[in-house]
Symmetry: C2
Subunit: 410 residues, 2 copies
């Protein structure tokens, strides 16, 4: 007998019919003799609808009330799912994030999980219940306020619960079949990965692969919980994200991200502390900075470029202009039409020449590289947004990321 | 400065536009220097929609999960109302029933308030916040489970909070102008009462006047909290329900109720303990019994008739048949097409002949009386459902329940 955490997203529980299908899947797991903790998101687009309602009464609603509002969404889906399980003869109980002991800090709208008090979940498991926990939400023990975890929060809830209860696996059910070597919408022959290491998945998530958020992968890695990303529409195996001991593939996949903008501060005096001034100010103003590139200086001056989320771009520009003035820099420029294309592979670090192959294959397609940033297992290039798909295809071709079976079958 | 509790029903907060209007009214009260606790129901028909959703996944959903589901409704309306107040520059905070310390017993779907722990509400009031509390919900301290209070629950929340915080008044905002001498849909010239005593209001509520439920009136009476029933659409005074010291009107109003069915157990042996057997069984099976009438016996046998809610009528029949067999009674009969018409007035007890006038005025309209039951300030008659409106009009005429101004103006 195992303890399995199963997480179902909003699409999987979008209507009563789908909720019954999810209940059926949980019931089969339970009847196979496993203990089950279920984590569920709000139904379909209901969170978006609540956000729209809020906008109609207040264009800038307070975060506390926004969290109070949004947490009603999972309350509805989890109660309905518990009812559907009862209808299948399976004993089940829904718990809010607060009831499930998911403690967070006080940051409304983007709270971090600080601790999980698992007593109530454990008692219900001991009673033979399927425990259904509201994803995306928790409670701040200091303020006794309800909080939400922000983007990807339900996955984080699932992996954190799996860690707290030493689950054997955390299954993330989604509308795709698993993790692919490239986005199948761009590279239709992309290959589904049977497994991938936490480290590689972290890089892929950070590089824009939307299936799993980095914070969930990080939880899984830290507590050694295997994550199984799989389809909610059929029973086929998906992709296992885990501490792999197998021989590592040179390249696992290519990811792209068109959600960022590039900010450049030009003609910065090349003196110590300049970068610190700039990025301390960004951090202080709440701007998340991703890639940072600084070239060698000429005539005692240099350019510093960095990427930020496009939703932060106005804020980033304001901060950059303020600091540029303070530093007597030449000026600030922004480019919102960029894409980041990244190649990830744990084997990269022992295989020379990968970077050169990346740059050559992009050049062969006439794609200009505007920024480069690398880690030991990732190479990221910023290109024009209009060339993103061509860049992904070029790298998929160069590094054999296609599904051979599909190619043969085609 | 006063402490005012204001309760708004689902119709008053049915959409963002109405929520803004309610926020405006609360803001005016607050700006006038009063402390305000607001109790709010779920938006419009949202509770009915949630019940329908539940029915689609489980025809007989467990009460615990039903409460989890339904309590999401007030969570949405109260958060939106808090946001709307912030938009008006009024500091406000929404609290769930649990956060507001509304403790109940464990009866899911029809919990009773057992205690109110007012610390958190008081702290927020002390900080100058308008406190918005979810109506209709609480928490059972024994099981730590979320409960709902059942029909009229939001009014009960409001009056109980008013009592716990020693409010000066509990204002119930509704879609009618106040309490009328008769249902204005049946008697268009019915008169709005400026005030009515708790006792009379209790009888009226028990007799089917839907504006206020008896449980709220009972709270008000017990703790001496005046209840002001008024329209959410304009500022005119409504009806004050309070401990009145004024000279009492002989008759305050007529109410009718078409939600009951009449069950008769025929030819019951007229021996001690028979009625006890019957009604203990009803109570045990969860059937709420309203009127009970037993006539004198003939030949050692009698008929016992009683009324129950129509939603309980199948259950009541099953129980009655079981007990009838046990008692060797003649049989059980049910009539679902009945109406209860009641005349209420505190002055009745000192004024002889009221009952005779009731019976005569009904007889003059050719209305047959099937059951009679009286208290010191109420006379109730069960008649055929099709004759209910005629009976209400006859009593309104007989006891001058019309608005004189309206008659003059007509």
């Amino acid at each position: 007998m195992s303890l399995i955490v199963q997480k179902f997203g909003g699409t999987s529980v979008a209507d009563p019919e789908r909720i019954r299908r999810v209940a059926d899947r949980i019931a089969r797991t339970r009847r196979a003799g496993h203990d089950v903790i279920v984590v569920v998101s709000a139904m379909g687009k209901s969170t978006d609808e609540l956000i729209a309602l809020a906008g109609q009464v207040n264009p800038d609603p307070p975060g506390r009330e926004m969290d109070m509002l949004l947490t009603s969404g999972e309350r509805i889906s989890m109660a309905l799912l518990a009812m559907a399980l009862h209808a299948e003869g399976i004993s089940a109980m829904s718990l809010t994030g607060s009831q499930a002991g998911i403690l967070t800090d006080q940051s409304h709208g983007e709270a971090r999980i600080t601790e999980i008090k698992g007593d109530r979940v454990q008692n219900s498991l001991d009673e033979g219940q399927v425990v259904i926990v509201a994803g995306f939400q928790g409670v701040s023990p200091d303020t006794k306020e309800i909080t939400t975890l922000g983007r990807g929060g339900s996955d984080a809830t699932a992996v954190a619960l799996a860690a707290a209860h030493s689950a054997d696996v955390c299954e993330i059910y989604t509308d795709v079949d698993g993790i692919y070597t490239a986005d199948p919408r761009i590279v239709p022959t992309a290959r589904k990965l049977d497994e991938i290491s936490f480290k590689e998945m972290l890089e892929l998530a950070g590089a824009g692969a939307g299936v799993l958020m980095a914070r969930s992968v990080e939880f899984g890695r830290r507590f050694g919980i295997p994550i199984h990303v799989r389809s909610s529409f059929h029973d086929a195996e998906g992709t296992w994200v885990k501490e792999t001991t197998m021989e590592e593939a040179i390249v696992s996949g290519v990811a792209h991200d068109t959600s960022e903008a590039k900010v450049t501060v030009m003609d910065v005096p090349d003196t110590p502390g300049v970068a610190a001034d700039l990025f301390e100010a960004m951090s202080h103003d709440g701007v998340n900075v991703d890639m940072i590139v600084q070239n060698i200086s000429s005539a005692g001056q240099t350019d510093i470029s960095f990427t930020v989320s496009r939703t932060h771009s106005d804020l980033a520009m304001a901060t950059a202009k303020r600091i540029a003035e303070h530093l007597s820099a030449g000026g600030v420029d922004i480019d919102r039409d960029i894409a980041k294309v990244s190649l990830v592979g744990a084997g990269m670090k022992t295989e020379p020449g990968i970077a050169a192959r990346v740059f050559r294959s992009l050049a062969n397609q006439g794609i200009n590289i505007e920024m480069i940033s690398t880690s030991s297992i990732r190479i990221s290039c910023v290109v024009e947004e209009s060339q993103a798909q061509a860049a992904v295809r070029a790298l998929a071709d160069e590094f054999d990321l296609h599904d051979v079976r599909e190619e043969v079958g085609a």
